[in-house]
């Protein structure tokens, strides 16, 4: 990975959803789902965006494919400014940019056979000549672990795991460069989830695919990602390679999030940081650092100044966290201002 090619570059992305109100239906406020987010994805890597409900991770994924048009910012894909494209050009672009959704039940047309679904994708993108399509469909079905003759079945004849494989086959049918996986394995049972994750990894190795993985399951994320972006209330709070994020998390939110995961080992002692309360509303997010209302280390400064993503000298390259106090917390100089942590006994 010495000669890394920038495949997707997002700068200052903002996605506000207006709230209409009053008898005139004027915009009275905005839901700031994504608020000034920038990151780059290199070719052939898997980047995961993690965070809790409402942090803006899915909105970010949708904005990249322009399923919702962003309010502000730039999205550059393979050197092309996506936001300058018109509808028709964007549709062509989606040959290289595919998405796999969470719910395999809702994302396949129930009245179309798998063959029709796959055919439609190839037809729209003009990806495969018509006379080769049936061969391509048979090949795709086998690639994702289904029988070629099953292509003439309807979605309801498949199980959830199989349907998710069809979703993957559809994404692969047009030879994309980047696939956005929006909670692509969340609805699956763990034994099936492992099958699908292994499949995604295999395709990446074979075809140098790039994935943007949107997930809330941090076990899945650790397993599949090269780099991780942690979001909270529409902002990136931490970004770094997988090892740094899991073994040396810097932002208090990342630490709390990681400590909250139940570990499948009853004999492991874990220190858990309990966060107070719920995620605040993205309509009226807290001032300064958006995490300050729940942060165990928060001071008055946190309520006033928005922290920038920063890399301190003891952190690895490319690892950055948006917190005023990461260095002081690391050295033990800045202590928690609230009592929140607790060691679980076994």
């Amino acid at each position: 990975m010495s000669q890394k090619k920038e495949l997707l570059k997002i700068n200052n992305l903002k996605q506000y959803f207006p709230i209409k109100g009053g008898i005139l239906g004027r915009t009275v406020n905005n839901v700031k789902a994504v608020d000034d987010v920038s990151f780059t994805i290199y070719e052939g890597e898997t980047v995961s965006v993690v965070g809790e409900s409402g942090c803006g991770k899915s909105t970010t994924g949708r904005a990249i494919l322009r399923l919702d048009d962003p309010t502000d910012g730039t999205i550059e894909f393979d050197g092309m400014d996506l936001l300058s494209l018109n509808k028709k050009e964007m549709r062509k672009m989606r040959k290289d940019l595919q998405i796999i959704f969470q719910d395999p039940y809702a994302s396949l047309n129930p009245r179309m056979t798998v063959r029709q679904t796959l055919n439609e994708a190839m037809e729209i993108q003009n990806a495969v000549p018509r006379n080769e399509r049936n061969d391509r469909i048979a090949e795709l079905m086998e690639t994702v672990g289904l029988q070629p003759h099953q292509a003439d079945r309807f979605p309801h004849e498949f199980s959830g795991g199989q349907r998710q494989r069809i979703g993957i086959a559809r994404a692969l049918s047009v030879d994309p460069k980047l696939i956005v996986c929006d909670e692509a394995v969340s609805a699956l049972d763990v034994s099936i989830q492992a099958q699908v994750l292994n499949l995604l990894k295999k395709f990446q190795d074979e075809w140098n695919l790039t994935y943007l993985f949107i997930a809330h399951d941090l076990g899945v994320v650790r397993h599949i990602s090269d780099r991780i972006i942690v979001m909270y209330l529409g902002k990136i709070v931490e970004i770094g390679d997988t090892k740094s994020i899991f073994e040396n998390p810097q932002h208090p939110y990342t630490k709390a999030l990681l400590s909250a995961i139940p570990v499948p080992d009853p004999e492991k002692k874990t220190e858990r940081i309990f966060l107070q309360g719920d995620v605040p509303s993205p309509i009226d997010p807290p001032s300064g650092c958006r995490f300050h209302t729940r942060c165990p280390f928060a001071t008055d400064k946190c309520a006033e100044e928005v922290p920038e993503l920063r890399n301190e000298d003891y952190m690895t390259d490319g690892h950055a966290a948006a917190c005023h106090y990461i260095k002081a917390i690391e050295s033990g100089e800045h202590q928690p201002t609230k009592e929140t942590s607790k060691v679980r006994d076994v």
């Binding site: 492992a194 076990g219 909250a260 139940p262 499948p264």
Partner: protein, 343 residues
């Protein structure tokens, strides 16, 4: 295992009768819950774990029916109870919380009205005392400004708060047994941590026993004392939690642990279980897991093994651990790297 048992389920069978077919959702389930302890029932979709829990409280609606077995609660078989007697048990001695707090709370009644209902039916409290007790309960489950909350409706609360309200309702009458059906599955991980901790604290305070139904092995490891692993309507393994994770015996349990992506350690690769769960009307004749099992022999495909004792308080439903085993003798020894499926 000399502890007193609060609940003993024996050979429970719950079937659904659809278009003349009998679908055996729960097919001879046996487990028990020691007093004051937490039993985890773990399994994937369609394993029958939720139906088992609903059967305990006889919340099975037509076309479903409990067709056999015993549910002994403190020595009394609940299946002998009349509906009127069951109504005195539900929400009083045994309470249940569900996965989706929004659909299990009534949207047109306030939080206070809903908690008061149980108190009125089981404790005969009037409105004033009921409200006082409701406020107390909301405080117990960590809801800020409880006096304001009792007058609010479910939609005014967040997901985590609603689940706390559900727990408050379940605890209203100091139940001896709490059944929690995927109580944190719909919640974010930081909120899940709060709710699991709350259930644990309340259990210690009130000496309650808990049945925790979940698909998440992390939740099992953190909250349970004993675990029953279910597959296709049957318990395939029962053990205390430490033994289950350290020395899993059933190939299905091993397969589950091998397919789990973990957040606490680096893994080279996941080892999935091959194939999929059989459809309910296409259950194999022998061991239900045989078509997916890497060790299955002819015996496994033709005959169903029984749930047998294999050690101190451990039970497993697998031919490998019997004298009849005719496959590779080495698979009895737990070595995860050997227990891989071939694809």
């Amino acid at each position: 295992m000399s502890d007193e048992k609060i609940l003993e389920v024996k050979d429970l069978r719950t079937s659904f009768f659809i278009e003349g077919n009998e679908i055996k959702a729960v097919d001879g389930v046996t487990f028990d819950v020691p007093k004051g302890k937490t039993l985890g029932i773990v399994g994937e979709s369609g394993s029958g774990k939720s139906i088992s829990a609903l059967s305990i409280l006889q919340l099975i609606d037509s076309p479903g029916e409990i067709v056999g077995g015993e549910i002994n609660f403190k020595g009394q078989n609940l299946l002998d109870y009349s509906e009127a007697q069951m109504r005195k048990v539900r929400g009083n001695q045994i309470s249940m919380i569900f996965q989706e707090p929004m659909t299990s709370l009534n949207p047109v009644y306030t939080i206070g009205q809903q908690i008061r209902e149980a108190l009125k039916i089981h404790r005969g409290l009037d409105k004033k005392d009921g409200t006082e007790k409701s406020v107390e309960l909301l405080e117990l489950v960590g809801i800020p400004s409880p006096r304001k909350r009792v007058t609010q409706y479910p939609f005014e609360l967040s997901g985590g708060m609603r689940q706390r309200v559900m727990i408050a309702m379940a605890l209203a009458c100091n139940p001896e047994l709490l059944i929690a059906d995927e109580p944190t599955t719909a919640l974010d991980v930081t909120i899940q941590a709060q709710i699991l901790e709350l259930i644990k604290e309340l259990q210690e305070e009130m000496g309650m026993s808990v049945v925790m139904i979940t698909h998440d092995l992390g939740v099992v490891a953190e909250t349970c004392d004993y675990v029953a692993v279910m597959y296709c309507g049957k318990v395939v393994e029962y053990a205390d939690v430490k033994t289950l994770f350290k020395n899993p015996r059933h190939p299905y349990t091993v397969g589950l642990l091998n397919s789990l992506p973990r957040s606490d350690v680096d893994q080279e690769e996941l080892i999935p279980i091959k194939g999929t769960v059989p459809a309910p009307h296409e259950m194999p004749d022998g061991c239900r897991f045989a078509p997916r099992c890497p060790f299955a022999t002819d015996l496994c495909h033709s005959e169903l093994p029984s749930l047998d004792d294999v050690g101190e308080g451990e039970q497993v439903r697998c031919w490998i651990y019997t004298d009849e085993w005719d496959g590779d003798p080495e698979v009895k020894v737990y070595e995860p790297e050997k227990r891989t499926s071939e694809d």
